[in-house]
């Protein structure tokens, strides 16, 4: 069956309700049991909500904020708003109050739909910063018995109002849906912004559905596919895959029970189509490796042997290349006793297509999953480009490139090395920000991605780094911090790394250790520690991390253009980077400039010959309290290899 032809998201919703009314559309676990809503039920839920909003005075052209975890009810809220010709604005639910108030004010929002009491409290608190909030709808009624504020209404009561409104004005809903045009703005996603204030990216129905459709056809997605939606709804990746593409293709969206149960839910659902940023794949790998270390020696030996086999031939088999029969047999045996059970434990048994995006993935990480038979591919895109710019085609996946442009996308590399894009999926504008909108395009209408990259011999796009971050060492060699950081982060024990060296004579790094993996390692060695800070400062941990970095240094030394990026000195930070301290964005990307300013003392010390540095830092807790943490941080010198790796 081909894909339905609707151009707007509301039209697509109605079309699914007509052509496959009884197929599952959404699932959510309630009281331990998966509940299913088919397309027909979804349609009537959306309709009731839309009419309820209309009854409260929500009109075409208005904006509505959505705050909460991934819940079917919140996806329906998005659809209901679009049916009315309004614009939904999903927000990151863990964003601090000031950031939220900025977005609400910037988007001139009077209507908010939230998940539960926690978000209601937050929104009510925001009223002091931004008094424009007039209607707050909450989905989960738990703990809400004593809230009597006039602006509050429960999701169910609102739907009830809607049903009555619908009965009184039966022609209203369809009239509004039919008035939606393909080039109306369908959604506004605020970019997390590694610099400056968030900007509202306006995407049209045509851009979203168009891109989603092209990719669905490329990958032969169909209505029997299954996804698990667990990434923030405000992130373009989740929005395009769990919402837009679900409406374009008609596959089933599953919402986890809570953010802590995602891994269990992943196993129970067994998605066929999966999308995650590299850190999720890293976490899965870390947890597997941790458990392997606790396994019996026989099991460990078997695991090590077959993982070696997989590394040699797994990716080649997945790409359909020639492999001799003895290796084929070994891989078959490995699949029987190691790979298939492992995929099952990770919840990836049924995967047909898995994407990773948002950041560059470590080549070894990508190879690990592919060698197990998981068709993991890199995707390149951004909020402004509807997430889809380049995809690695099946059978042509390489660890170091992001693939070929998808149909309809034109790419160009500017003279400065920046990747420029023309695509039907380009955003219309930044909301009420014509200056930034103009600045995002070149004079000839190309969108500036802000990424530095180049094409390899086969036309695959390779991304080096954020264009702003790429620099030069004082001896004139290329400085690309991200590249090295990703290599470092492949070590189980390193959670986060920030590399410095622009306009300096050598490179240094600030390291965040992975508390779980390193903690486990310490326990097995009988090293006592009281918490993260204690563990991070332990001399044995320093030795462990130094050895990990030395390994990276060695691989860097084997490549003539990268050998200058070897890390000469490093320190392990006494605290973990945290979005609440503004060191990371909400999507957990390093805010390099901020980190550089905040830890200037430490960085200066690393480029001197000091062996330790005292520092005081402010730590913010989730509830807004602050405290001062001070530490005397040791700086370690690392082993550096000569350019051709001959020290081996």
């Amino acid at each position: 069956m081909g894909l339905p032809g609707g151009q707007t998201l509301p039209a697509l919703l109605l079309e699914h309700a007509r052509i496959r009314p009884n197929m599952p559309a959404f699932r959510e676990k309630h009281l331990g049991i998966w509940q299913t809503w088919n397309w027909l039920e979804t349609n009537s839920e959306v309709r009731a909500l839309a009419c309820g909003l209309a009854d409260q005075g929500f009109r075409r052209g208005m904006n509505l904020a959505i705050i909460g975890d991934n819940r079917p009810s919140l996806y329906w809220a998005m659809a209901a708003v679009q049916c009315l010709g309004g614009i939904p604005v999903p927000l990151y639910q863990d964003a601090p109050a000031a950031d939220m108030a900025y977005v609400l004010e910037n988007a001139d929002i009077h209507f908010v739909i939230v998940e539960d009491q926690e978000q209601v409290d937050k929104v009510l608190e925001l009223k002091s910063l931004y008094p424009g909030i007039r209607h707050v709808t909450f989905d989960d009624t738990r703990g809400m018995r004593h809230y009597h504020q006039p602006e509050l209404i429960s999701y169910q009561s609102l739907q009830e109002l809607g049903r009555r409104f619908d009965a009184a004005h039966p022609e209203f809903f369809m009239r509004e849906v039919n008035a939606c045009q393909a080039d109306d703005i369908a959604i506004m996603l605020y970019t997390s912004g590694t610099t400056g204030k968030p900007k509202g990216v306006c995407q049209t129905h045509a851009a979203l559905t168009g891109r989603a459709r092209v990719v669905a056809e490329m990958e032969a997605l169909n209505e029997t596919d299954v996804v698990l939606s667990y990434l923030p709804m405000a992130w373009v990746g989740d929005n395009v895959i769990s919402y837009v593409q679900a409406l374009v293709v008609g596959f089933t969206v599953n919402c986890p029970e809570s953010s802590e149960t995602v891994m269990t839910d992943l196993r129970e659902i067994g998605p066929t189509y999966y999308f995650a940023p590299p850190r999720v794949f890293e976490n899965i790998l870390t947890s597997v490796m941790l458990r392997m270390e606790d396994a019996s020696p026989t099991k460990r030996r078997m695991f090590d042997y077959f993982m070696q086999v997989a590394k040699q031939v797994g990716s080649r088999l997945l790409d359909g290349k020639q492999v001799n029969w003895s290796y084929r047999f070994l891989y078959w045996l490995g699949d029987l006793i190691i790979y298939a059970p492992l995929r099952n434990v990770m919840g990836l048994s049924r995967i047909r297509i898995a994407y990773t995006a948002g950041e560059a993935i470590g080549p070894d990480l990508l190879t690990f999953y592919r060698s197990l038979g998981v068709n993991l591919k890199q995707l390149y895109g951004s909020t402004e480009t509807c997430a889809f710019v380049c995809i690695q085609p099946n059978g042509m996946v390489r660890p170091d490139s992001v693939g070929l442009p998808i149909p309809g996308v034109e790419l160009m590399i500017s003279d400065e090395g920046e990747v420029l894009v023309k695509s039907p999926g380009l955003f219309k504008q930044y909301y009420r920000n014509p200056e930034e909108t103009r600045a995002a395009f070149t004079e000839s209408g190309w969108f500036r991605t802000g990424d530095a990259g180049y094409f390899d011999a086969d036309g695959h796009l390779k991304i080096i780094d954020r264009a702003r971050d790429v620099g030069k060492l004082s001896n004139g060699h290329l400085f690309a911090p991200k590249y090295v950081e990703n290599k470092l982060k492949f070590s189980t024990y390193i959670k986060e790394a920030v590399v410095f060296g622009n306009r300096r004579s050598y490179c240094t790094a600030i390291i965040n250790i992975d508390s779980e993996a390193t903690g486990n390692w310490a326990e097995r060695r009988g090293i006592a520690y009281s918490g993260y800070t204690d563990l991070a400062a332990h001399p044995d941990v320093y030795e462990l991390i130094a050895a990990c970095i030395a390994q990276t240094n060695q691989t860097l030394s084997e490549d003539a253009t990268l050998t200058h990026l070897q890390i000469h000195r490093m320190l392990i930070l006494h605290k973990q980077f945290d979005p609440d301290d503004e060191e990371l964005t909400r999507t957990r990307k390093i805010r390099r400039e901020f980190v550089e300013n905040k830890y200037e003392q430490l960085i200066t010390a690393m480029f001197s010959d000091k062996t330790s540095q005292y520092i005081e830092t402010q730590v913010k807790f989730e509830d807004g309290r602050q405290s001062l943490v001070c530490a005397d941080i040791k700086i370690a010198d690392l082993k550096v290899f000569a350019a051709t790796g001959e020290t081996r």
Binding site: L31, G32, R145, H146, S258, E260, T261
Partner: protein
């Protein structure tokens, strides 16, 4: 939130309770009452007789003297089974869960008295037992949802952190749908965050289910924050009784806690 809660009449009245073990007087002539829907705290230094008091209430110990009037009826020949039947559930100072069983199964044991179908039908999962199992499971799931422990539903209790185990124990007591819930040091050994969570759950239980709560707790901050009335014991005697503010101002209580020169 608290002001909207209606505190009812006296549900449990303890009159002149005395309890001794051989020559040791654990409780001497103690009287106090518990009203419906209130949170009543029992505090006191170590060895003051707090746990003994709780054990008297749910029938583990039988006092030598004194009367217990529960819902207007004097109680005689009380034992633990009858206490449970009459709607009194409790948690223990030292966690008493089945370590090898999952969280789900542990909480399910709290439903024992609510299960109607007989043992044989249950073993065969046959007839009415089938329907009942689903019904009981739903109740248990509601508690799991309430206590936010979905992520460990199927984890053996022995593998959980101390704070989570305490939460599971509360869950098991809740599964009995008690009228009075006795909590013996629900927050002992917890960190600040876990204590905050536990306090919130206790308040929510009291508010949403209208359960009367009698708790023993050492953390004065917590006691003063969440309880409606406090009774203070010292060496088996009652030395104070009243609202948190009254108790804090009581000179005997100050002496007992800070010590006084004799």
């Amino acid at each position: 939130m608290k002001d909207e809660r209606v505190i009812g009449p006296v549900i449990l009245d303890l009159q002149s309770i005395s309890l001794s073990f051989g020559g040791v007087n654990a409780l001497t002539n103690i009287s106090f009452d518990v009203r419906e829907h209130e949170i009543r705290a029992i505090i006191g230094p170590n060895g003051a007789g707090k746990s003994s008091m709780l054990n008297v209430i749910n029938g583990v110990y039988r006092p030598q003297q004194g009367n217990i009037i529960y819902r207007g009826v004097p109680r005689k020949d009380m034992n633990t089974y009858r206490a449970a039947r009459s709607g009194i559930a409790r948690t223990f100072q030292n966690i008493a869960l089945f370590k090898g069983m999952s969280v789900l199964d542990n909480i399910m044991t709290g439903r024992t008295l609510k299960i109607q179908s007989n043992f044989l039908l249950q073993a065969l999962y046959w007839g009415p037992a089938q329907k009942e199992e689903n019904l009981q499971r739903e109740k248990v799931e509601q508690i799991i949802d309430f206590l936010e422990i979905q992520h460990v539903r199927k984890t053996p209790v022995g593998r959980l952190s101390y704070g989570l185990q305490k939460r599971v124990e509360l869950g098991r007591a809740l599964a009995a749908e008690p009228t009075i819930l006795l909590l013996d040091e629900p927050m002992a050994g917890m960190n600040v965050e876990e204590k905050q969570d536990m306090s919130r759950f206790i308040l929510d239980v009291n508010d949403q289910f209208g359960t009367t709560i009698v708790l023993i707790e050492h953390d004065m901050g917590v006691v003063m924050d969440i309880s409606d009335r406090v009774v203070v014991l010292d060496y088996g005697r009652k030395i104070g009784d009243g609202t948190p503010a009254e108790v804090l101002a009581n000179q005997d209580v100050i002496n007992a806690y800070l010590g006084v020169s004799h």
